[in-house]
């Protein structure tokens, strides 16, 4: 187990280094970062002062090392516009997005897992056909458009739910439903195929031959085996969710990390973009590692690989 952890951590660090190089490269592609930093009517002398302070004079790889050193010390630099330290901004916005992602995952799991199990148990019946049909439909719906439709219908016409902002929990209902629905098709399909393979397995028949009740079989024998592929998919989907929620956060004007990235992109406020990309990459790696650990815990066959 330790060897597995060590090798995975090594790979993750390597990936992070490459990602930080990529995002650092983005930062430098903008040409004169000093102007973006200084803003208007600064004299040439002041510009030189700022360039010096930002260390832009030095060759690129030196600058990169300096920025990595600063990153390791938790100093993500400061935003060009609000002069706020990026780290504080990042954490507050990330909290909102994580809250949104958590609720969306719960909705997606609450819908997809039962659907997957039901359509597996009633394979080839009209129930199964109905589930597959709605999953195919769900896969094709563009999430930003669904967000608009939901907010227009439930928010405006019926007025049941708030349409914007991230104040109370009620504000999170529509956005997380939209994100949840976007995740349901893939999750249902994986659960269904996982469940079908398990129900075919001979240990299920043998368990029934031992006289165990079908509920006990489903809970202790079928579900643990079927859940393995679902967990790895969930970790990938959660990673994509954090990055992909920029659209939903824009429609429902939720101050999450996605909107922060979009706003700072429109303002060409690149210290923020760089740290957001890095932070999301970090989260993705942690999540996939977590999923692997959970899988290794559940499935003994993986333990000694």
């Amino acid at each position: 187990m330790a060897r597995f952890l060590l090798s995975r951590l090594a790979i993750s660090c390597l990936v992070l280094i490459v990602v930080s190089m990529l995002s650092f490269g983005l930062f430098h592609l903008t040409g004169d970062a000093a102007l973006a930093f200084a803003g208007e009517d600064t004299t040439e002398a002041e510009m030189a002062l700022i360039r010096e302070r930002l260390g832009l004079g030095k060759p690129i790889y030196l600058q990169y090392l300096v920025s990595v050193e600063k990153l390791l010390k938790g100093d993500f630099g400061i935003s060009l516009f609000t002069q706020e330290p990026v780290i504080g901004l990042l954490i507050s916005k990330l909290a909102v997005t994580v809250k949104l992602a958590a609720i969306s995952i719960c909705i997606a799991v609450a819908i997809a897992i039962p659907l997957g199990v039901i359509s597996a148990y009633s394979y080839n019946s009209w129930v199964d056909w109905l589930v597959t049909f709605s999953v195919t439909i769900g896969q094709a719906i563009p999430s930003f458009w669904l967000a608009l439709m939901l907010s227009t219908f439930f928010g405006l016409y019926l007025g049941w739910l708030p349409v914007a902002g991230d104040g109370s929990l009620r504000h999170f209902v529509l956005p997380s439903v939209t994100l949840g629905i976007a995740m349901v098709p893939a999750l249902t399909w994986v659960t269904k195929t996982g469940m079908l393979d398990v129900l075919d397995a001979s240990y299920i028949l043998f368990a029934r031959a031992k006289g165990l009740s079908s509920a006990r079989i489903a809970l202790f024998h079928a579900l643990p085996n079927a859940i393995l592929p679902v967990i790895s998919l969930l970790s990938v989907q959660l990673g994509q969710l954090l990055a992909g929620s920029v659209v939903i956060e824009t429609v429902f004007s939720i101050n999450g990390i996605g909107r922060l990235a979009l706003v700072s992109i429109q303002r060409a406020d690149l210290p923020i973009i760089q740290s957001v990309v890095l932070c999301l990459a970090c989260i993705y790696l942690v999540l996939t590692l977590l999923a692997d650990l959970v899988n290794r815990y559940i499935d003994p066959r993986l333990r000694n690989q």
């Binding site: 930003f144 439709m149 990938v236 994509q240 973009i273």
Partner: protein
């Protein structure tokens, strides 16, 4: 070994052969027909539209579609905020979306194919490197990276397509890699190796043809994926730039009026939905037919 010996020989799942084969072929044909009719719409756009999609007539802004009592057949789907015929913009929008689907896949498929085959076939350390590249790509949040790049170069159709093209190859790489690995263990590959044929020969004669048909199935699903992401990018204003008609952009532009004139928002959304549905069904159908 599946099932408890021949206890499962008459397992109910095998008997559904006839029924599901038919539904799979139906799914494939239905998907194909949707995609073909969108292709026709895109190609025949100039002939089936009455107005030029770029022509603005500010005096006839926001006319209602024909099904409302004030609607007229001169502008069947009414006009948008700048008095442009909405029907012709929807039709020309098909060109943008289909073009995005094809170009993005045309760029990403070869990259994915190449990486997958090299990784799958050689295994060992090269496979480790390929997996490292794939993991790095998966760690990068696609939408944000695209946004960041587009913000530097300024949003435009070409930029969006190129960026998506160079980011979308992960699915191709993974599928090819696993397919190649399976093939590599098959006897006929080791046999070919025994005849002394070179790696390149094996790759092209043995591995490539089998892998390609697996790739074909996910081509259409990846096209659907590309269309969705491009629409989202245009919706955020960083994909296709005005005045080019793009469905994502049209949804964004008419968003402020979605309360009063809902058809302006609904129609492009539906168009994206059906095109993506078509590609998905085509992909699913291909995948299941291929598996037989």
């Amino acid at each position: 070994m599946r099932g408890v010996g021949n206890l499962s020989v008459d397992n109910h799942r095998d008997q559904e052969g006839k029924l599901s084969m038919w539904s799979k072929r139906k799914k494939f044909l239905f998907g194909l027909s949707i995609v073909v009719c969108f292709l026709l719409i895109a190609i025949l756009a100039p002939w089936i539209t009455l107005h030029d999609p770029y022509h603005q007539d500010l005096s006839s802004r926001l006319l209602l579609p024909f099904w409302t009592e004030h609607g007229s057949w001169e502008y069947p789907l009414g006009t948008d905020e700048l008095g442009r015929d909405y029907f012709s913009r929807l039709v020309y929008g098909a060109r943008v979306s289909i073009a995005v689907g094809f170009i993005v896949v045309a760029i990403s498929a070869p990259i994915g194919l190449l990486l997958g085959i090299i990784g799958g076939y050689f295994g060992g350390r090269t496979d480790g490197v390929i997996m490292f590249i794939i993991t790095t790509r998966l760690a990068l949040p696609v939408v944000l990276v695209t946004l960041a790049i587009v913000s530097i170069t300024g949003g435009s159709f070409v930029v969006a397509v190129l960026v998506l093209g160079f980011l979308f190859w992960d699915r191709f790489a993974i599928v090819t890699r696993s397919a190649t690995q399976q093939l590599r263990n098959k006897q006929f590959v080791t046999a070919a190796r025994a005849y002394g044929s070179s790696h390149a020969q094996i790759l092209f004669t043995e591995i490539m043809p089998n892998v390609v048909n697996q790739i074909l199935t996910i081509v259409s699903i990846e096209m659907a994926h590309a269309i969705l992401v491009e629409a989202a990018l245009s919706f955020l204003g960083l994909g296709v730039q005005p005045p080019t008609p793009s469905w994502g952009l049209m949804v964004a532009e008419s968003r402020a009026l979605s309360f009063f004139l809902p058809h302006l928002v609904t129609l492009p959304g539906l168009a994206i939905f059906f095109l993506v549905l078509g590609f998905n069904l085509l992909g699913d159908g291909l995948q299941s037919l291929n598996r037989r």
